[in-house]
Every structure is written in C-alpha cells, then in structure tokens.
Symmetry: C2
Subunit: 416 residues, 2 copies
C-alpha cells in the first residue's frame, strides 16, 4: 500500500472526514457522494488548516541551515504525523525521519521510509514490532539509557538474528531522560550493544531550550547539546566502540546552532508548523505559523466582552504553553479566514466544544456576527494537531478572496 493509496482524495462535505487512522483504507470503500470541499468556508467547523506555503518556507529555512552546518537533517515527524507533509521534507524520495511512536514508524515504513529513528526510550515489550520493521528492511533505530534496555535489545537482536540499531540517550540539560555524558555506566551499555552488533550512536535533545528566550541562550543551549553528544561519543570511542551516529536537536537549538563539529545529524520537528510558543521565544515570526483551526462564531456575551465559538479544547487541545511566557496568548491568537490577525483578539477560555474570545490591550471587540469563521493560531502545534485526524491544506502564496481554496487534505497517523 503506497502513501497515495492511504490518502483519501478529499473529504465529504459536512461530515467528519474519513481520514485514515494508521489502518489501511479498504480498496472497496465506496466513493464519497458529496462534492469535495472547495474553500475554508465549506467544511463544518472546527477543522485544522495548514498553509503549505509556510510549511515549504519553514522546511527550506532549516534545510539550508543544516546544509551550511554540514549535517544531515532528520526531521521529527511527531508534529504533523503526515506522510503528505513529510513528502515536502525530502522531495523526490523518502528521507531520514524521527518518530515518537511505533505507529508512526509503521505508517512511515508503509509510505516508503526506510531510515527511521524512534526517539522514545524503548519499552522491551515493544521489541517484537521493532524486529518486524527491521525484517521489512527498515533501518529502525531505537533509543535507550539503561543497561536493562541494552540487554533486552541485544537479546532480541540475537533471537531474531538481525541487528537492531540502538542509540544511547544522552542528557544535556536535565530535561528528561538520558545518561549524563560522564555517566559511569555509559561504556558498559555501549559494550552490550556493540557485542550484539547494535550500537548505532548517541542522541540528545535540548528540551530546556523551549525556555531559552534569547538568541544567545539558544546558541549556548545548542553548544551544550553538541558538547554533550560529542563528549559521550568520544567516551564510547575511547572504549574502542564505533559510534556512527551523533544526533542532536530541538527546534530552538537547531535554528540557533552555529557550529556542529562532531555531530552527524540534526533533528527538529515543531518547525514544520511552528506555533505561538516558538514565536514567543523568537525562533520564528507570527507569519511563519502554518497551522490554525477554523472555528465559527456561535454566540455573543457583550456584557462580559465575550465572543463564543464552536472551537473549544477538543479542537485546540488544553495546551497553554504561552502561559509561562512574557506574553500569554491564552488558547491562541485569532485571525480571519484569510489568515490576517484580528488585532487584540485572543481565545482566552475553552470548554470541550466552546471557545471564548476576548479583546485585550484596550482593543475594541470586533463585530463578528453569528456564523463568522475565524482561524485560531495555537500555542503548541504538536498538541493542537493531535486533536485532528487530518488537515485541510491551503496555499497562502496564492491570491485568495475572503476564503482560501482547499488544495488538498492530508491525513494524520494516530495511536501508538
């Protein structure tokens, strides 16, 4: 089954779209009877929209930067979780990717990807699926940071009679998992993997860079990320162990890195869509944000200064990532259907299927009658995208009237 087979040509109007869900679509599925949606004025709200022009621009920017730095770019597909979006990353042929779930790995393998890093510490219970992907010819690289996991991987590899490439997770900033570069157990873990033909490299992620508010802080975070990975690789090599892959990355550090000497590959995921958290940090501009959610005005409470929409947390997620930033953006900034921001209008509250918009900084509450459609820019693209089964795709570079035309529908991978 190819990526094209998995993709439905369009959504049926006015219904939850029949988007593939990690499960193959039946070849016998009846053709939808409703005509395809034509513009953002057509599908019932709420629904997710991606501006492919911005996606292309965001992808090109980091690709140029990685090329200048002399490293392979291995994008993390956990944000869009879409083969269609990934097709823009490596034009022509499926390139290396990072995934956050085995469901993504399996879907991307189905889509022709053969070089995949699963960047969450491996649960030994999941190794049968790792072996199955390897047997399909996929170079699936797993991650670990303990001797127990290393032994489980080595044992599974020996039982299956196939190498299972594994990378040792390195902690560069105390963010989450990983071994410190100077951890005493590092060489022993490397040895267990190497003896089973599984030692593939080291990997680190500067998760704390999401709180680095200046270019200088991000540049330093990128240096620490590089230094941690290179130091760990050096210790393994000093123990006589080959380390082919030295992998670093996060969206903030990937854009800030100036020198990646010793690093072989760079990872970043969020940058394909970007979001208000990244704009708040200064990693991107507001007009780089490629993901939004179309909602409809369904009520007014002028006595409270509220406009009520049909887009609540089910459509936006509960993510309030900007609440810790100098400028709290509530649940999102509000734009018109043409993508232009409505000055001062913020989505400040959410229940399951209701959003509340309010004006701030003395901005007047705009006159938006019942039925008006708006686009809400999210705090956190990964979390908002996860609330949807796919994206309606528009091209912001094309001249559009009040409602941009829908160029395509992209499916998302869901589940684990």
């Amino acid at each position: 089954m190819t990526a094209a087979d998995r993709r439905l040509p369009h959504i049926t109007e006015g219904r939850a779209a029949a988007l593939a869900d990690g499960d193959p679509a039946p070849p016998e599925a009846p053709a939808p009877t409703a005509p395809p949606a034509r513009t953002l004025a057509d599908p019932d709200t709420p629904f997710a929209v991606v501006d492919v022009h911005r996606v292309r621009r965001n992808i090109a920017r980091l690709a140029r930067h990685a090329e200048r730095l002399g490293v392979t770019l291995r994008p993390h597909v956990k944000t869009a979780k879409s083969l269609d979006a990934a097709a823009l990353l490596h034009p022509g042929t499926p390139g290396p990717v990072t995934v956050s779930t085995l469901a993504e790995a399996e879907a991307f393998a189905d889509g022709g990807h053969t070089d995949i890093t699963y960047a969450v510490g491996i649960d030994p219970h999941k190794l049968p699926r790792v072996v199955a992907l390897r047997r399909r010819g996929v170079t699936l690289r797993v991650l670990l940071d303990s001797a127990g996991q290393a032994r489980a991987v080595a044992e599974a590899a020996r039982e299956a009679g196939i190498a299972l490439p594994a990378q040792v997770e390195i902690d560069c900033d105390g963010h989450r998992g990983g071994l410190r570069p100077d951890a005493p157990e590092l060489a022993g873990i490397g040895r267990v993997l190497h003896d089973a033909g599984c030692l593939d490299g080291v990997l680190t992620h500067a998760g704390e860079s999401y709180f680095a508010h200046t270019p200088e802080e991000r540049r330093l975070a990128a240096e620490r990320e590089r230094d941690a990975a290179v130091a760990a690789a050096g210790r393994l090599r000093a123990a006589g162990l080959p380390v082919p892959v030295v992998s670093v990355g996060s969206t903030p550090t990937a854009h800030a890195a100036e020198d990646l000497t010793g690093v072989s590959e760079l990872r970043a995921g969020n940058y394909v869509f970007f979001d208000l958290v990244m704009a708040g940090l200064g990693v991107c501009e507001l007009d780089d944000l490629a993901l939004s959610v179309v909602v409809t005005v369904i009520g007014h409470r002028p006595e409270y200064g509220w406009i009520i929409t049909d887009g609540g947390w089910m459509a936006m997620s509960r993510d309030r990532g900007t609440s810790a930033q100098p400028q709290d953006q509530g649940y999102g900034l509000v734009a018109g259907l043409d993508g232009r921001l409505v000055p001062g209008l913020v989505m400040t509250a959410a229940s399951q299927e209701h959003g509340t918009l309010t004006a701030r900084d003395g901005a007047p509450l705009p006159d938006l009658p019942i039925g008006t459609r708006l686009r809400v820019l999210p705090n956190h693209a990964c979390a908002t995208a996860a609330q949807h089964r796919g994206y309606h795709v528009v091209d912001g570079s094309r001249p559009a009237g009040p409602a941009p035309g829908i160029q395509a529908v992209w499916n998302r991978v869901t589940g684990w």
Copy 2:
C-alpha cells in the same frame, strides 16, 4: 449498520488498534492475525482502560437519584463517546442522550438512538446535517441563544418541511453562553421558534459548579440552575408559548440537586467515568474513577527523583484541571496495574510521549523497574479519553491477579 457491526471484536496485539473512527468498518476487512489481548499486560502502552464495574456503579447512583427527583435522566455522552458505554445507561433500549458534536449525533443515530440533544449553540452552517438526522426519524434537539440562530432554524425547518426541535440556552451562572432568564429578547426568540413549530424548551448548564468545593455550594448551584431554567420557561409560557422541555444539569449539580420542581430532565456526562477534578471537589471518591491510562516505566533519573514512563500528554491530554484545586494532582495519580494507588506517586510532568513520576509528601520513590506497567488516573476524563480511539475494558469486581483480564474493547466516536 448496527452498533455491533461498527465495533471490532478485539484489538490486534501490539499495534494501534483498528478502532472505528466514526467511519464504517469495511465488511471485507481482513481478520486480524494476532490473538486478542488477554490482560492489561498485553497491549503495547500507552492505552486507555475503563473499569466497567465502576461505570455501572456510577451510572446506577445517578439513575437512582434522578428517579428520586422525578426527572428524566439524559446523560451527556461527550465523555465516553462510546455506544458500548451508552448501552449501560439505558439497558435494553437506546434512551435519551446529550451530545457535543454532530459526529456523535450521527454515530448515536447509527446505533439506534432516536432522542438526542446537541448541546452546543447551533452554527447555521450545520443545519443540513440536522435536517438529515431529522429525516432519518431522529428527534435531534438543537440549542441557540440568539434571534439570528432562531431565524436560521425556523427557515431551515420551513424549507425542509419538517420541525427542528430547538431549545433556548439559558445562562444561570455567567459561565459561558445563553440568555439570562430575564433577557428582553427571550420571548421574541421563543416566538420565532414556536411559529415554525420548533420551540422545544429551555436548557441550562451550571458550568461554574466545577468550582463549587462544598456540598452546600453545589446544592445552591443546583438551585440556581433550576431556578434559571424554570424562570425562563415561565416567561415563555406567560407569553403563550408551550415549553415541553426544561433541562438542567452538570455532574456536580446533578448529584447535589435536592428538589427539581419544574424541571423535566437532568443532564450529566463526566459522572460515567469521573476523574480527579470531581474527586477533588468531593462529588465522588477516588475509587469511583473508572478511566485510567496504562503506561510503562522506560527510565529512571534517581538524581532528580524521577521515574520516566512512555505516557506523556499525548496519552493523558494537557488538562491540568486540579491545578486550581487545593490538592494539585499534576497530570494524574499513579496506581498499579491492579488499580491500587501507589502512595504518594504523582505524574508531575509530561512531554509528548514521556511522563515523569515523582513522589510527594515525603513518600519514598518506589522501586519500579524498566517495563513495569502502571495506571494513571486523569485530571479530566473527557480530555484524557479524547486522546484515545477506544478503551480496553476490565471488570474491577472480578478477582484478578496482577494484570486484570480484558473483557472487551469499546470504540470511541471522534471528529466533528
């Protein structure tokens, strides 16, 4: 297509389950080759679990209370979004339900439900789907709080030649949408609906009761909810307009109400699963919580006091509802696979596919090796359930070893 047809008999082991997604499953789908999962130790994590024994107990408790109060119970199915769970609400025959999306309405109509209230203010753009459901014989009741919406409903009803039952949303506590009971436009809106044969009643929801921390506060919230709905109905009746339905409800007020004179029906949704927010309010006990997420330990950071799991916000949602309560429960409390709480262990941080567990109140960090499975009880059942495509069902009343047996898999409705 019946509800049974829409449901797959089991999940395939170790893969994202092929759960129906609001779209019909193909009759030609190949039979899964892997054996069905047998216990909570089998499916790959993370996945959602429902204890059907607790669900039955929660359902019975409120059903008894509604019977004592002399009102019809119209459960809100937005939490479980599952025909299988709803089958426990009205044993034998599909009963009245409340839904939060038209996708739910359509799925529940497919499952045989004929009395459905869509309790989000109607977007006129969605009226064609409302008409389509009415033509299928479903009594679909819509909600509105403006003259513009009333005119749109009346016009759609006249064009379709079919009554579209509509309820006027009443605001009882300044929580969200609705007209105040004394709003001057109430009778005019009622008149527009009545003249088109569409006036069905009034509906209110005490959303602020989610912040009512004592039984007395909740009792008073229930009185205000009742009084607002009854007053609005009285004003419409005084204008010569019949008001068949007077609908009130929220999980906290539904359980606290002592006298619903003048009310015809009671709504509540969250109570089927309950969650830490409801337990924190005192609406339920911790051992009433029916939903949890099974996760696996994938790492340790003893230097920080962290246990890392493979269940992050993708599995739990970003909901931090208890952060505003006296006892903040982080992203959730942690239990063993048998459902018994691990004393003092809390999920305190989340990234997309990682959870961080820490001990509080001086509790020792338990020794939980890599591969240990745990169940995390969520802040907000509606939000956590929404991150999953279905539920593995266990029965907590049956004697179980360390890993309870899986009795069934329930699907969820997704999308809009």
